[in-house]
Symmetry: C4
Subunit: 219 residues, 4 copies
Amino acid sequence: MADDHRARSWERRTEKPLLAASLVFFAAYALHVLAPGLPGPLHDLCTALALAAWALFAADYAVRLVHSGSVARFVRGHPLDTLVLLLPLLRPLRLVRLYNAVQQRRHRPRLSLYGRVMAYAGLSALLLGFAASLVVWQHERGAPGATIRSFGDSVWWACSTLTTTGYGDVAPVTPAGRVAAVALMACGVGLLSAVTGAFSSWLIRSFRTEDEKRPPEGA
Amino acid sequence: MADDHRARSWERRTEKPLLAASLVFFAAYALHVLAPGLPGPLHDLCTALALAAWALFAADYAVRLVHSGSVARFVRGHPLDTLVLLLPLLRPLRLVRLYNAVQQRRHRPRLSLYGRVMAYAGLSALLLGFAASLVVWQHERGAPGATIRSFGDSVWWACSTLTTTGYGDVAPVTPAGRVAAVALMACGVGLLSAVTGAFSSWLIRSFRTEDEKRPPEGA
Amino acid sequence: MADDHRARSWERRTEKPLLAASLVFFAAYALHVLAPGLPGPLHDLCTALALAAWALFAADYAVRLVHSGSVARFVRGHPLDTLVLLLPLLRPLRLVRLYNAVQQRRHRPRLSLYGRVMAYAGLSALLLGFAASLVVWQHERGAPGATIRSFGDSVWWACSTLTTTGYGDVAPVTPAGRVAAVALMACGVGLLSAVTGAFSSWLIRSFRTEDEKRPPEGA
Amino acid sequence: MADDHRARSWERRTEKPLLAASLVFFAAYALHVLAPGLPGPLHDLCTALALAAWALFAADYAVRLVHSGSVARFVRGHPLDTLVLLLPLLRPLRLVRLYNAVQQRRHRPRLSLYGRVMAYAGLSALLLGFAASLVVWQHERGAPGATIRSFGDSVWWACSTLTTTGYGDVAPVTPAGRVAAVALMACGVGLLSAVTGAFSSWLIRSFRTEDEKRPPEGA
């Protein structure tokens, strides 16, 4: 109980710094990928920032591991935290959660159930799609026989993948790019199907509600 | 309350003129895209009609903004109206709503819940698909390396996109065409998944009903 | 009421002959498409059989139209019958219905609800896919620039379309072939999404049932 | 009843040996496909192992057929067993079932309903995808005009097929490869849609639960 309380208090205090670090990591990685012609010092700064952010994540993970008392139990009980430590690009996913919590604290009118599912899953899919575009573009750039020849192509490819349209006019050809693509398909497609499922449910429910509140005779 | 009443009365009176204006806009835009060889005066007429229709939409938006009392609240509370002001091609979506209201006033037998979801979402998807075909064809025509070489190709592309089949034998290559394509994927795919979801629910329900009304023994 | 009884009695008596005629039509059309090198007389026989079958459908439609008393009401109330009159290839869809009715009369154990939805929608999708393969192959054969170069290609294309995979390695290029393709996408995709929806529901339900009937302690 | 008891006892005793045999079969087949340059004796060993494993499956099927008393009833009542006898690559699907049963015997905390559906269907889809990659690669290797030129291409193709993305940059061209592809589409797509369906339901439910357990005022 005391441990549990300490863990929660730690999480509350580290929430915002870690989120800032995750955005710094994301921005530094994006700059690294999208602006390969940066002068040396700026490039080194990007790398340093990304490493520093990642060191923060690792330190946070270590502190929580120690707090928990049992290494094996913590690793098994926090699979998402372990994943995010290995793939820090996914960390900003917590941004959506934070926004929701802030709205709640301010007593703002919140979205409906389906609205929140759509917002959360949609934003996560967007973030995953952007991260996958960056990773794929990093590996495909200059690969022989690549069909993805600009970052725009990479974003276009990510959009057609997330909706499972899959035109195939541009597609990754390198092994590393394809591994990132499979990860995007596995996660992103699941998230986006949640969005369309919630949208479909919301549409049916709103039609049903309209039926019920209609005045009984020819109003 | 008075404001609310005035707003509704305004909406009831402007419904039909605005719908007519939206159809004029749609037709003028379609003519502009599909018949580039029109003689100058006719082409100018198209442009004038489209602009006039859009001016009507803007005037309606402004009147309702003033009625509402608070600019910020109106913009936040009517996101769809703001979107439709910026993308007037989507305006005929209200046609479906109007048809439904007319049927109701005439005491016609209405479609079942799933039937209405399918009709509404299906018609909206059709309209979005046609609008996207127009926009994509306008931007792809004559683009170097384009695979969409006729309006028929553009419609074929829109159909394969809406069903998420995505053959990729024809696909937009220009940035503007791809932006329209992503919009179609985001909206249209959601709408069409609502159609298939409602169809699936309707099928399961009609099989269940058949079970219940079957005579008890070997009739 | 008397009309209703007469209509049902007519339907019961014409059910089997019309089904046989629909199979004859299907077979004659398939032979016409798949064996273009048939000697003249056999080819004429095929055409004659298909026309005779279609004449039967038209006669049945006319009789039921007369029975119903009101032309407008009959056409509005039987959209599927009107569609099937215009596209007789879809007629064997009734085969599935007949099989179900026969099983019921013989007091055979019937499939569960989800099983029947999957069987009915799956068989319908199969039939639609085969009919679309025939129509597309008829129009694509010999078209300049066609990627569908054999009936096998056409079947492969139909399979990849029905599952919305849409590789696009082969795809129709003629306007008529594309119209048939859009029809297949619209109907077949809906049917197949009903199959996967029912399968998903059945899987979740069977896992839930397994939970409930498990013995309370470590059996 | 006695027969039923005997059948269950047989199944319990043969469960593990048969599972081991199915893994041996899978491994021998994978080695046969992926290492065509094996020296003769090793290659013969693979073939012998696969045949021996298949003989075990056939013997098990025969014993259960005899136990059941009626051939026709057994074949009709165990369609999956008959399928698995003909396509032994699918046999390891029972691995998932065994893992579940073992967890249950050890009183381990089990996954939630949706978690189990996702785990079971996801693992099955993975296994099907890997088996299809092997079969397709075996038939496409060296085929004229093949776009699948390595086992990696085959796995990439299977991933894009399972998610119904279907880029089409690589796709089977041989009839045998296409038959395997259609089987993967039919089974794998159904399984994966069950995964996304369960994920979507789980997401909506977890958002709903969060609503209910939220403290009443600004905590």
